[in-house]
């Protein structure tokens, strides 16, 4: 079995043995109730310093996307690939790889869901995984 490591600690949580879907770890400002991803130690909106860790919704809508044909330095995956911003109900628009959909199937506004998938193989650490979004497999229930 491949060993998997998160691309960075504190970004997402995968409940053991599929008890619940994975979620992103964000934070919410006690003062102005805004939510942020990744989590922050101070509120960029109101400068409040009391923020609580929260589990962000694993579903959202595709705010925008692009198909990248020329990869920037540091990226070693297949090309072309898709990157998008997914708007969560909490208001954040999360920049993430978009998977499980052909470029021709992309539409702004389409419902998306969080998945944790392979980012790249690290010769020392093993398979590095990251948060990604794919088209939601069932309709979003409000």
């Amino acid at each position: 079995m491949t060993r998997t490591v998160p691309i960075r600690d504190g970004l997402f949580h995968v409940p053991p043995s599929g008890a619940a879907p994975p979620h992103l770890i964000g934070s919410r400002c006690d003062d102005c109730a805004r939510s942020f991803f990744p989590s922050k130690n101070q509120c960029p909106r109101c400068s409040g310093r009391a923020l609580a860790e929260i589990a962000l919704s694993p579903r959202g809508t595709l705010h925008t996307y692009t198909v990248i044909h020329q990869a920037p330095p540091g990226y070693a995956g297949p090309v072309p690939y898709v990157v998008g911003r997914v708007e969560l109900p909490e208001g954040e628009r999360v920049l993430a790889p978009i998977v499980g959909v052909a470029p021709s199937g992309l539409r702004t506004g389409m419902p998306m869901e969080l998945v944790i998938g392979k980012a790249f193989d690290d010769p020392e650490k093993g398979e590095v995984v990251t948060y990604q979004f794919r088209p939601a497999r069932e309709p979003v229930r409000p």
Binding site: Q70, Y75, G77, V83, T108, G109, A119
Partner: protein, 375 residues
């Protein structure tokens, strides 16, 4: 604040200078600006140097070549707005009464670099390939297209216009006319942005000498190019928009307009930050040249071409003049200065009396600098 005028400007043609040290590029631009101003370096009491990637004490490395006069040299950085921030700092130094004359310089050597990605080595955006500049702007473009019905062809037209202008600018990196087809058929970088919709990296330098109107009057009867308003701004919180480029442009330009006492309708010529085609469309709106969602119609109407109602980027802009980051803002200042002096040759905007420069730094809206020049 005292009235401040632009006494001289100078730049080198943007492009690739693999065999010329970056300090010499800066030196050549300073020579041009000092000669244009008719001022000797020993008469300059302070200098501000804008650059983003050249390492420590870049201003000293340029100016020590010109002469060791001991004056304060301050290096200023604000990503792609580094040069224009240096100009605002120089303006403030003179306007506030601290110095009677100042030199502002922007310099960058980027031909060793590939695509700019705005990430730092340990950002996860780097291995994920999500942080490149074309990506950020492609994401803006896609949403804009879907919100306002902008087509890929209409978007590409920005590059056609700016390359047509750059052909008339001896300082432009790309002096080649492009057809709509060439722009659209060029290599896809980050959909919908093709290669010719992305500003080229390159090397460049530009400089200006500014002084008080009182000092300028001792030298000539004028008319003078005056710094009527300027402002630097950073991001505010925009819900869900970590890379907002519009709010910061709106807010910063409004501050510069207010200082000037004019508005977008009073402008005759604009140099704005068209790092990608979509940016020009968005900045038409941000600078108030048209309403929200109307940028494509302003372009299609021909209003922003040379000879139009409000010519934008007559120099060719970042897309055609090139975008050696720290030099860009100073090159905009030079272009508007020439336009207001009616020295812009084949790209002259007839009767231009007021112009604005606009640069945006930091992969979205980390920094914005806007300057209004008038004659």
């Amino acid at each position: 604040m005292r009235p401040v005028v632009v006494l001289g400007v100078g730049l080198i043609r943007f492009g690739r200078y693999p065999d010329v040290p970056v300090a010499e590029l800066g030196q050549r631009a300073c020579w041009a600006a000092l000669d244009d101003a008719g001022v000797a370096w020993r008469d300059i009491p302070v200098a501000y140097c804008g650059h983003a990637f050249q390492g420590s004490t870049m201003g000293q490395r340029v100016l020590n070549r010109i002469g060791l006069t001991g004056v304060p040299i301050i290096n200023v950085e604000n990503a792609c707005a580094s040069g224009s921030t240096a100009f605002v700092a120089a303006y403030q130094a003179v306007a506030s009464g601290m110095y009677d004359v100042a030199l502002a310089l922007g310099v960058e050597k980027m031909s060793f670099k590939g695509m700019i990605d705005a990430t730092r080595p340990d950002d996860i955006e780097r291995p994920l390939g999500t942080g490149a500049m074309p990506t950020k702007y492609a994401l803006i473009a896609r949403r804009y297209m879907d919100d306002y019905g902008l087509t890929a062809a209409a978007l590409a037209q920005v590059s056609v216009k700016n390359h047509a202008n750059g052909c008339r600018n001896p300082y432009a990196q790309h002096q080649r006319r492009l057809t709509l087809d060439e722009v659209q058929q060029s290599r896809m970088i980050s959909d919908p942005l093709t290669l010719y919709q992305c500003s080229p990296t390159g090397d460049g330098a530009a400089a200006a000498v500014i002084t008080t109107e009182a000092v300028a009057r001792q030298r000539s009867a004028g008319p003078f190019v005056r710094v009527a308003g300027c402002a630097v701004g950073s991001q505010v919180f925009v819900p869900g928009e970590p890379d907002d480029i519009s709010e910061i442009t709106k807010r910063t330009s409004r501050r510069a307009y207010e200082m000037w006492g004019g508005g977008p309708d009073d402008l005759d010529v604009v140099e704005l930050h068209d790092c990608f085609t979509i940016a020009e469309i968005c900045h038409y709106e941000g600078l108030g040249l048209c309403g929200e969602g109307e940028g494509q119609h302003l372009l299609a109407s021909g209003a922003t071409g040379i000879g139009g109602r409000i010519p934008v980027n007559p120099s060719g802009g970042l897309l055609s003049r090139g975008h050696p980051v720290g030099a860009t803002g100073m090159a905009q200042i030079a272009e508007i200065t020439w336009q207001l002096r009616e020295q812009a040759g084949e790209r002259q905007v007839t009767g231009a009396k007021a112009g604005v420069t606009h640069t945006l730094g930091g992969g979205g809206g980390m920094a914005c600098a806007v300057t209004v020049l008038t004659r």
